[in-house]
Subunit: 141 residues, 2 copies
Amino acid sequence: MNLSDLLTGLKEKGLKLTPQRQQILRVLLAAEQPLSAKELGMLVNRRFPNVGLGTVYRTLDTLKQLGLVNETVFPGGGRRYELCREHRHHLVCLGCGRAVAFPFCPADCLAKIAAANPDFDVRGHSFAVFGYCGKCRKAQA
Amino acid sequence: MNLSDLLTGLKEKGLKLTPQRQQILRVLLAAEQPLSAKELGMLVNRRFPNVGLGTVYRTLDTLKQLGLVNETVFPGGGRRYELCREHRHHLVCLGCGRAVAFPFCPADCLAKIAAANPDFDVRGHSFAVFGYCGKCRKAQA
DNA sequence: TATTAATTGAAAAGAATTCTCATTTAGCAC
DNA sequence: GTGCTAAATGAGAATTCTTTTCAATTAATA
Ligand SMILES: [Mn+2]
Ligand SMILES: [Mn+2]
Ligand SMILES: [Zn+2]
Ligand SMILES: [Zn+2]
């Protein structure tokens, strides 16, 4: 998934290709881990200093609705955003906040749950493992 | 786990057994699903109308630190609290917010992750499945 | 009952997110 | 290119959620 694919996607939905949106997408493409709205805003501001958080949140909303971005909630409550690429989950450090992705998910659990709750229309799931990374453990000791 | 067990726990840690704390624990014991701080506060207020949210949050913090309460973050970002009973996860309705617990967790995934990241000190994990419950589906249709 | 440190209520402060509205602008027709 | 229009933006106000502050209260202990 590259920038022009994403822009084509927006265009098809009748959305304007504003420079702000393009830059937000560029930052998301370059990100190596899920970003908070604030982090995303700061990165966007490197090139467009007066894009406000309002625009960041609005854009994230539209991208979520288009299914291009997904929102993950990490322990402590912070919402983070990333482009939808391969489905993945994260190993999150409670010390420094860094996240490492892993590509597999609890398929057996999901199957059990769906089987046990036929009335429920399952739309998604979240899974995250948290603890302390090597660096933070050394820093503590 | 009943009320006097919990109170004994608090006492052992040198914490005061205030009526506010007791009521918060009673409400958490009676709850059938994780509560937001606000919901918890309102339920506490039925008996103690002037307990403020400040006290609710402070008490939840102490209970978390004692390992008696755990915090779960549901999709959208709301933090919810429940007594630590058996380890469990939830099936959460995106429509009405109701949650149903299920008692198993992705053990195989957790093992794979721990094996692949020996430097990382795993302290916990979160897992939630979301979608729309039977009631909400009927309401939509 | 007197003492004391922990706890509380009330209110202020902070942080995160959403809303409002006047202004700007991308996309389109001419 | 020029003008039109609905969509998008910037700036800031407003909400909502959570933490902090501090003077007053109170549970625990002697
Ligand atoms: Mn998964
Ligand atoms: Mn589990
Ligand atoms: Zn770390
Ligand atoms: Zn529902």
